[in-house]
Symmetry: C2
């Protein structure tokens, strides 16, 4: 990991938006994860939260939905120069999608030792079969995202 090229404010604004989306997901009974994609000019291209249960779609993680939305809006399956902000360390499915979408940077909040695939498990971006790896910055506003997830799972046990 290297120092992020954005200013703290540039990073925190989309992460705060992603946290708001995670809270919306929680209020709908979904695992509270939110994701935002920012274009090269700093504009918000896409934003989404988990919708697995709502949509009866096991692939409907926040990152997948945001990537599909951004690519659809741009009319291009490659999100060159775009950055993803997400409240949880991406899983293997989402890490694969991030790589295929050629996202430039990934900022995530809470680490996920149980299901994460960036700093845990397969560590996908370091695999020889991963053909594009973004720059990754983990632990951004980690406290807020971790509290949200902990409270969510506490109410379900």
């Amino acid at each position: 990991m290297t120092k992020a090229p954005q200013t703290p404010t540039q990073i925190l604004r989309p992460i705060e938006l992603a946290l708001d989306l995670a809270r919306q997901a929680q209020s709908l009974g979904e695992v509270p994860v939110g994701a935002v994609i920012v274009g090269p000019d700093g504009s918000t291209l896409a934003s989404a939260h988990n919708r697995v249960i709502l949509d009866h779609d096991p692939t409907a993680h926040a990152e997948i939905l945001a990537i599909r939305q951004a690519a659809g809006n741009l009319g291009n399956e490659r999100l060159l120069g775009c950055d993803l902000y997400v409240t949880l360390e991406p899983c293997a499915m989402c890490a694969g999608a991030i790589s295929f979408a050629r996202l430039r940077r990934v900022y995530f909040a809470a680490y996920d030792p149980k299901g994460g695939a960036v700093d845990h498990g397969p560590r996908y971006f370091g695999q020889p079969t991963c053909h594009h790896a973004p720059d990754v910055y983990g632990g951004i506003a980690e406290g807020d995202a971790a509290i949200l997830l902990r409270d969510f799972f506490a109410t379900r046990r």
Copy 2:
């Protein structure tokens, strides 16, 4: 890998259908990969081919589309007792989706040393962060699928 519980005919019918879908993908300029999902009663629940370029969607691999279609049709994000047939070894993104969908078995044709995540790279189903692993049978009708892929990439070089 253990012996597949299906008869050769039960396995070859959906694999042949997946190969037909892969040929359709090729004729549309997509990477030739097809996928079919079969329900517990042997009926075809979903079938799809790669649509990454057509749909401007980096997540539109055959497996992801078939999983979304089957889950949508069943109104359930979990495809319990269902089996996936696909012409190429799944990548990390698709392996993650297969796990989340709780698919029972995966039959694939060609091995993919460059991008596969089942027998190559992250070997996702063997990771401690993978919470459901299907039974996997690789190399089914491998020759046909491999020729299709080889011819496709040969014409693009």
